[in-house]
Symmetry: C2
Subunit: 256 residues, 2 copies
C-alpha cells in the first residue's frame, strides 16, 4: 500500500510544487514507484513535468467530481517510475461546486484508496490556501510534508497550518500528522535565512529535516524546460539537496 | 473620491503584500491619504505594518459579514497618512460562510463605497487564489495592479488572471481593467529574470510599468521589524524602486 503525503503550506511561493516534483523524481530515481496528484488549479506541477494543456482533458477536477476514476486520470511522465494526475483551470470551480456535495471532504481520499496498490508513494501538490482542495488532501493523506521558505512571512503562517492539521486530525483523519518540515530557498549570504532556520528548529525540533534546500537558480530554470531539476542539472546544489531529502525521508520512515 | 486598486495575482509569493505595503507607504510619503485593506487570512500586510494579533479584534472578516462598518474596522498605522483594515485567521471562514449570502460578490464594494471620501487611494491586498475573497476585491476595485515575479511559474498563471478579470468585468464591474503589471524580485544576475521580463513586455506592452522591483534582501528583512522597507531602509534599492513606482502610478493616472 502506498504512502500518501500532502505537500502543503497556505503561504504562497514557498516551494510546494518544486518539492513535489523533485522529491517524487528522486524517489523514482531510487526505484520507488511514485504518483503526483496536482491539486492546484495553477497546474504548475503538470507544467513542470512537461504536460501541455492538450493532454490534461481528464484531470483532478474530474476525479473529485466523481466523473472519472483515479485510474482514468493517471498518465505517465517522461520520468520512468513517475506518473501524474494533472490539473487545469477547471479545478478552481471544484471548491464552489463541492460545497453542497455529501462527504465533500472525502472525495479525494475515496478516489486515492482505490488505486494505491500500484505505488509506493503518492505526493499531493496543494494550492496556497486552506480551502476545500487542501482539506481534501489532508483527509486523503497519511502525513503532511511542509515546505517552509526561510523568510519572515512564511514563519508567521505555520501556526495556522498546524491548527488546521489538528482540526482535520480530530474530525476526519485520526492518523494525520506533520511528518516533516523542509527548509527551502535557504540563502547562506542572508542572515534572515539563518534566523528563520534557527527559530524553526528551536520550535519544531527533529520534525525539521536536516536536509536544507538552498536557493539555486537552476531550480527555477528547470520548469521552463518542462523538467525536474534532477533531470535538468543533476549536479547542481538544488538537485543534490532533493536527492538527500528523499533518502532522509526513506530513512525516517524505516524508523516509524 | 478614492481610487480603489486590487493588488492581485493567484500565484503565490510574487510580492502582492510587499507591493501593497510599500506602494501605500510611498503614496502616503507624497501626501496622498492611503488605506490598505488586508484581505488575506494570512494577515501578512497587518504584520508587515506592525499590528499585533491583539489589535485585530475588528477586521475585514467583520466588514464582509456586515457585523462592522469599514469605519469601525479602520485603524491607524505607524506611518502618517496610512490607515489599515487588518485581517486574521477568521477571514478564512468567510469564503464558506458567504456562499449562501445574497450579493456575496458585492460585500466589500458596498462597505468600501461608504468610506472612500476620506482617502485618495485604497489598496486591497489579495490572497493567492481566485476565490470569493479575490472576487470581492475585483468587484470593489476601479482597477487591478498585478505584481509579477520574474520566474517561469509566475508567467504561466497570468492568462488565468486576465480571464478572471474579464469575467468579473462582464458580470459585476464594467469599469474593471488591469492598470499595470509590476515586475518583482528581478535579479540582474539571472538570465531567467530577463527572459520573463522580455516576454511580459512583449505580450503586455505599456501595461508593464517601467519601474522594476529588484530582488533585495532588505525588502524581506523589513517585515520582521514590522515596518515597510521605505522606513526600515529608505536608501536601499527596493525602497527606491517603490518610490519610483508610486510616482509612475500617479503620472499614469494623470494621463487617464
Ligand atoms: N530552491 C530554490 N531555488 C530557487 N528558486 C526556487 C527554489 N524552489 C523554488 N523556486 C522558485 O520559486 C518559485 C516558487 O516556488 P513554487 O512555485 O514551487 O512554490 P509553491 O509553494 O508551489 O507556490 P504556490 O504557492 O503558488 O503554489 C518558483 O518560481 C520556483 O521555480
Ligand atoms: N523585492 C524583493 N526582494 C526580496 N524579497 C522580496 C521582495 N519582494 C518580496 N520579497 C519576499 O518574498 C516573499 C514573498 O513576498 P510576499 O509575501 O509579499 O508575496 P505575496 O504574493 O503577498 O505572497 P502570498 O501569495 O503568500 O500572499 C516574502 O518573504 C517577501 O518578504
Ligand atoms: Mg505550487
Ligand atoms: Mg501576501
Amino acid at each position: 500500500k502506498a504512502r500518501v503525503l500532502a505537500i502543503a503550506n497556505q503561504k504562497g511561493g514557498v516551494g510546494k510544487t518544486t518539492t513535489a516534483i523533485n522529491l517524487a523524481t528522486a524517489l523514482a530515481a531510487i526505484q520507488k514507484r511514485a504518483l503526483i496528484i496536482d491539486l492546484d488549479p495553477q497546474g504548475n506541477a503538470s507544467t513542470g513535468l512537461g504536460l501541455g494543456q492538450e493532454v490534461r482533458a481528464i484531470n483532478t477536477y474530474h476525479v473529485l467530481m466523481g466523473e472519472a476514476s483515479l485510474q482514468d486520470a493517471i498518465q505517465p511522465t517522461d520520468i520512468p517510475g513517475l506518473d501524474i494526475v494533472s490539473s487545469g483551470m477547471d479545478l478552481s470551480a471544484a471548491e464552489i461546486e463541492m460545497i453542497d456535495v455529501e462527504r465533500r471532504e472525502y472525495a479525494l481520499r475515496d478516489a486515492v484508496r482505490a488505486a494505491t496498490d500500484d505505488y509506493d508513494y503518492v505526493l499531493i501538490d496543494c494550492p496556497p490556501a486552506l480551502g476545500l482542495l487542501t482539506v481534501n488532501a489532508l483527509v486523503a493523506a497519511d502525513a503532511v510534508l511542509v515546505p517552509l521558505q526561510c523568510e519572515f512571512f512564511a514563519l508567521e503562517g505555520i501556526s495556522h497550518l498546524t491548527k488546521t492539521v489538528e482540526r482535520i486530525k480530530g474530525r476526519f483523519n485520526p492518523g494525520l500528522h506533520i511528518q516533516g518540515i523542509v527548509l527551502t530557498m535557504y540563502d547562506k549570504r542572508n542572515n534572515l535565512s539563518d534566523q528563520v532556520a534557527n527559530d524553526v528548529r528551536e520550535y519544531f525540533g527533529d520534525t525539521v529535516y536536516k536536509t536544507v534546500i538552498p536557493r539555486n537558480v537552476r531550480v527555477s530554470e528547470a520548469p521552463s524546460h518542462g523538467r525536474p531539476v534532477l533531470i535538468y542539472d543533476i549536479n547542481c546544489a538544488g538537485a543534490q539537496a532533493y536527492l538527500h531529502l528523499a533518502s532522509e525521508l526513506i530513512h525516517q520512515e524505516r524508523q516509524m
